[in-house]
Amino acid sequence: MSSEENTTFQIHYFASASTYTGKQTERLPAPLPLPRLFDTLESMYPGIKEKVLSSCGVSLGDEYVDVEADGEVVVIKPGDEVAVIPPVSSG
């Protein structure tokens, strides 16, 4: 692990999340409790919670996670990969 990977996780933005943030991916400070993910993003990208995140799926590693409903608090660890996946409905 590089020093950056010891203190950050990688977050990937898809579809409207990518449009809203203007990024495909970036690194954010870790550890971060999963339930605080949306507030963290809201502070960086005001309005994103209501307009994008409210309907998104989120994955941690390669698994779908429930950001708010999960019983025990999951913590995003340094080096983890998170993806924000809005529903795409067109076709």
Binding site: F14, K51, S54, S55, G57, V88, S89, S90
Partner: protein, 483 residues
């Protein structure tokens, strides 16, 4: 000279007449060939029934499907399953066309297509079953015309309508497997709910710009409350996106091979579901994300099983066939509807015609027009007296300025950097007009400019050009490119 012109005219007439005759003959031939093909199939089927045929497929089918039948995962058993399968494709567009093309090619016995739209020329770069000559024709008819030529063995059913809640359960009941190839959230929830309630596996895909998503849902298709059944669309996306954030391919754009990839993958997943060995367990539910400009191109997310409180597939389900059919499960209400923006009063708006009369060809220079389309659209075509400030820039900076509480010394909000100098200047009262593609974003932008105080308390006109460039083309400039 006169004689030569007459010769030309006469030749032209003869060519036209001969071409018409040729077209007639081609049509007749097509009809005759189709009749011959179905006659042949019928004869073979009769023969099969009358006296025990040695082989389950027709001679022509062994040749036609041989290349896929010798793949171990399919085999003759798989081919027979495909032949008895009934697949419904909802949407005959960018996803539905390639999906239908491969499923018809693979020999699916019965293919139904649902779509109420007609072919437009803006469809042709990606909707591979439709051809230029079929512009204006119903998509299902255009698609089936192609599919029949491709594989006359299959049966094709046209549902010439948009899928509606009152009709969905009955349509679905005639099929074994559903493909969601539609383009809006309300229909996606309707399809998923109906598929769960009628016990049909669902292959769902979507695409926009350079990205796509793919999921096999409700597989295996167990009754609501049975936790061993596959998750449904609501389990993955329980809340629909806000209606005013939903982007269509018309607004957001779409790269042909991106949506094509997703449609082809739907056909592949459908073939896998149809030909799966009864004794094998279904693969774990996954969401596949395709991103054409990322590395890797694909990511796969493992989905969870059914959501414990899912409104349709859990033990606590509230959605039933009756609530769907009766309309008490209201998909339009659930997903909301983005009405065309109507944010401004009549005096804050001007039609292209009024603008032209007021400002064109006068002595003073034409006023500055702020064009709030995204840069990629501005680059396609723009007006000489316009400047480009994309709506995304306007919205992004205004929200951050608000939240940071930026303000100048006198308590007025500081102007964001994108405001042009002559618009920011309090010396000028030249009117400011805002335009976009269809006249929605321009209203949002006018509201923002006024919130920033740029109308100088009413001394300066800040107005939107009503109906955007679509109306501009209709009213003042027929040569404006419509893309």
């Amino acid at each position: 000279m006169n004689g030569l012109e007459q010769t030309c005219a006469s030749l032209r007439t003869q060519i036209a007449a001969t071409e018409a005759k040729l077209a007639d003959l081609k049509r007749e031939l097509e009809v005759a060939e189709q009749a011959a093909a179905s006659h042949k199939i019928q004869n073979a089927a009769d023969a099969e029934e009358g006296f025990e045929r040695r082989w389950p497929l027709l001679d022509e089918e062994y040749r036609r499907y041989g290349r896929q039948m010798i793949v171990p995962q399919l085999g003759i058993q798989g081919q027979l399953k495909l032949r008895s399968a009934k697949v419904l494709i909802v949407g005959a567009g960018g996803l539905g066309c390639p999906a239908a093309l491969y499923l018809a090619g693979a020999g699916v016995g019965m293919l139904g297509l649902v779509d109420g739209d007609s072919v437009e020329s803006s469809n042709l770069h990606r909707q591979v079953l439709h051809r230029t000559r079929n512009i204006g024709k119903l998509k299902v008819d255009s698609a089936i015309e192609y599919l029949k030529e491709l594989n006359p063995h299959s049966k094709y059913i046209a549902h010439r309508e948009h899928l509606a809640p009152e009709a969905a359960p009955e349509i679905f009941s005639n099929y074994d497997l559903i493909l969601d190839c539609t383009d809006n959230p309300a229909t996606r929830y309707l399809i998923s709910d109906t598929a769960v309630l009628l016990g049909k596996p669902l292959v769902s895909a979507s695409a926009l710009r350079t990205e796509g998503q793919l999921m096999v849902l409700n597989n295996p298709p167990r009754p609501a409350g049975d936790k061993t059944g596959g998750p449904c669309y609501r389990c993955v996306f329980p809340k629909p996106p806000p209606a005013n954030t939903v982007t269509s391919c018309a607004d957001g754009g779409i790269v042909g091979p991106v949506v094509g990839t997703m449609g082809v993958l739907q056909a592949l997943e459908a073939i896998k579901v149809i030909t799966a060995d009864e004794t094998s367990t279904a693969p774990p539910p996954s969401l596949h994300i395709f991103s054409a400009y990322s590395t890797p191109l694909f990511r796969t997310i493992k989905l969870r099983s059914r959501r414990p409180a899912c409104a349709v597939c859990s033990a606590e389900a509230s959605v039933t066939v009756d609530t769907v059919r009766s309309g008490s499960t209201d998909y339009i209400f659930f997903c909301g509807s983005a009405d065309p923006e109507n944010l401004l009063s009549p005096e804050e708006r001007i039609t292209p015609r009024e603008y032209r009369t007021r400002h064109h060809g006068k002595e003073e220079k034409e006023p500055t027009i702020i064009d709030v389309r995204e840069k990629v659209q501005y680059d396609i075509c723009s007006l000489d007296n316009s400047i480009n400030i994309p709506i995304s820039t306007i919205l992004a900076s205004s929200s951050s300025a608000m939240s940071n509480g930026d303000s100048s010394a006198d308590g007025v909000p500081a102007l964001p950097p994108w405001v042009p100098a002559d618009v920011a200047s309090s010396q000028s009262t030249d009117p400011v007009y805002v335009v976009c593609r269809l006249g929605n974003d321009s209203q949002v932008a006018v509201k923002k400019l006024k919130e920033l105080g740029l109308d100088q308390g009413g001394k300066r006109v800040v107005a939107d050009i009503r109906g955007g460039f679509r109306a501009w083309k209709e009213q003042v400039d027929p040569e404006w490119p419509e893309y």
